[in-house]
């Protein structure tokens, strides 16, 4: 699952494998976090992955900013994303695959942060509704 997520971010299998290796190398130093109660190991791994991908996200920012708004809609094809509106795709992809903060997304879409959070919530409602 984690390799699939990284691949969707970096779009290169070899680079994705390198990132996956880097994430698992970090696991021994974070072992206390994994042993905590009520913690999803996958979500913890995903947070660590996003930390590893920080530099990659930054490097993509320059190219991304030069694209027209219509091209910024998610290129990831799956049944959940297809059910989202273009705006929802933009917000969800920005947060999930491009590592953007809520503040950044709010600025880009010229909307208040509360509205961005609401859009994200609606995205999860869509994900939950699809089996």
């Amino acid at each position: 699952m984690l390799l699939g997520y990284i691949f969707e971010v970096v779009k290169n299998r070899t680079v994705a494998e390198q990132y996956l290796t880097a994430v698992f190398k970090e696991v021994p130093s974070q072992i206390d976090e994994f042993l905590k109660k009520d913690v999803s190991p996958f979500c913890l791994l995903q947070i660590m992955t996003r930390r590893q991908l920080t530099d990659f996200f930054r490097s993509q920012d320059t190219n991304y900013d030069q694209q027209p708004k219509s091209d910024k809609v998610s290129t990831v094809e799956n049944k959940f994303i297809r059910q989202m509106s273009p705006e929802q795709q933009l917000v969800f992809s920005g947060a999930y695959w491009q590592g953007k903060t809520i503040t950044r997304l709010a600025t880009e879409l010229n909307k208040p942060e509360e509205a961005i959070r609401k859009i994200l919530k609606d995205c999860f409602t869509i994900i939950r509704s699809i089996n």
Binding site: Y5, V76, A95, L105, K121, I127
Partner: protein, 164 residues
């Protein structure tokens, strides 16, 4: 009512996507510990995340786990090895350059005494006793020989007198 509004605000979704600010994270961890409803909603969102990731899952190549295992094993701390002190050696005369002899370590003892096996005690005692016996025989044969020489000299003198 306030908890429900907090859950509905979208902060939890922001958190699981890793887009929350540090302040939001701290607030959420506090709310999660204090209110079971928040914890429950968060667990539901984590399941949603796993569902989403499961849809884009890829099978890792078979060699990848071995590579990860090797890299993690390389991180395991090992006891530090203190390097041996360098001493200059005469490499021209040193023929022990390879093979089993490489296992020897040159050691110069600081003690002026040597230690031998206990079984050598009887050997040394036997050598000492045999030495004494040989010495006694040597003295005996020396005296015998001297006495014989004197007797021979006396006989020669007697013979000379008889001849005259």
């Amino acid at each position: 009512m306030k908890i429900k509004a907090y859950i509905e605000s979208g902060v939890l979704e922001t958190f699981v996507l890793g887009s929350a600010s540090d302040q939001e994270v701290q607030e959420l961890l506090y709310m999660k510990a204090k209110h079971p409803e928040v914890n429950e909603a968060l667990q539901q969102l984590e399941q949603d995340m796993e569902k989403l990731a499961g849809n884009i899952a890829m099978t890792p190549p078979p060699h990848l786990w071995n590579r990860i295992e090797e890299e993690i094993n390389a991180l395991i701390p090992r006891p530090e090895v203190t390097p041996a002190r360098y001493t200059e050696r005469n490499y021209e005369s040193d023929t022990r350059t390879n093979g089993k002899d490489d296992q020897y370590i040159e050691v110069e003892g600081s003690s002026t005494h040597i230690r031998v096996h206990k079984s050598w005690r009887w050997v040394l005692a036997a050598i000492f006793v045999l030495g004494k016996i040989f010495l006694a025989f040597a003295i005996y044969f020396y005296l015998e020989n001297r006495q014989a020489q004197e007797q021979l000299k006396e006989l020669k003198t007697e013979l000379k007198q008889h001849v005259k």
